[in-house]
Symmetry: C2
Subunit: 205 residues, 2 copies
Amino acid sequence: MTQDIRTEPAARRPGGRSARVRGAVLDTTLRELAEVGYAALSLEAIAQRAGVNKTTLYRRWGSREGLVLNAMLERGQREVPIPDTGSLRGDLAAYATEIVVASRTPVVEATIRTVASVGDREPRIADASRGFWRTRFEFAGEVVRRAIARGEVPPDTDPNLVVETVVASVYFRLLLSGDELDDGYVDRLAAFVAAGASAAGGAQR
Amino acid sequence: MTQDIRTEPAARRPGGRSARVRGAVLDTTLRELAEVGYAALSLEAIAQRAGVNKTTLYRRWGSREGLVLNAMLERGQREVPIPDTGSLRGDLAAYATEIVVASRTPVVEATIRTVASVGDREPRIADASRGFWRTRFEFAGEVVRRAIARGEVPPDTDPNLVVETVVASVYFRLLLSGDELDDGYVDRLAAFVAAGASAAGGAQR
């Protein structure tokens, strides 16, 4: 089953019939989600529209949640581009804004809430989520690697920690505290984390 | 109904029969949760054990989730003490560790996952959660106010932003990425955020 839980971007998906079926199912899943919402999402409808058997869906994705999450993984990797504003603070603010916007689409919000609610009770979802965030941070770490190259932050700055801190703060407000995710907050957060990155090399020694 | 959603610590709870009933119900809820777990938690059992009518529970707390959350609010405020290690970095690491430990108890984890899963669909829970975190951050901001008094961070450092960034990072790993919440991570996080606080005054100007 593990070959179904992929985190590489769609562009790197290998060809062949199996990959085409997989792509058709995931695209259909997102279209259905957009049309009927998560609560009314039906595996029957997806199977019919994608021209596959419903048992195929269960065999490959295990559950409705697993299917939605896998669809979101690929879509998510495509839809949050890595900004390049010329400063770490600017990049982090732009990236945080993209995440806020993406997380407010009903489909993404439903997926995130589902992941947060299941935890290790659904190992396939937990694994897929771990893989998703690992890939996401690896890509987004580019903004930190560029800041290192510019001499803006120390060479031993941990790209993962910087990006994760920003992403975590956005999702905390979305999922738990419910506090405003407005531009003012995003700017203060980006300035704070960028300042931490500039200073952290020294503080950790 | 709003008078039932309180965020002040138990010690400031006013007296009277209504407050006693409330306290008995919340204590019983936590005892039942510890004994049978969230999935098997029954409002009937809580009502019987606390000596109140089940309709009273529905009237005051709206749902099982609302009741559990309110019970957790008070318990949470009591159970995460504010550390005082002499440095902001040490305090943030100690505070993060307390939150990791608390979040691993089945009752707290179940409550957090429930809150994350419902969002604005359950306004009473969303409101109570907002109030809970506001109070939590207000108390925990003490570690930042002390750091300001020691001259460790600039006077205009935002206590809320500092504490929230640490708390958010812990819950992101718990709820979404599933990455390790070990001592190594907690220390790096605390060092990073403390460095950000030391530097942020300059960076934001």
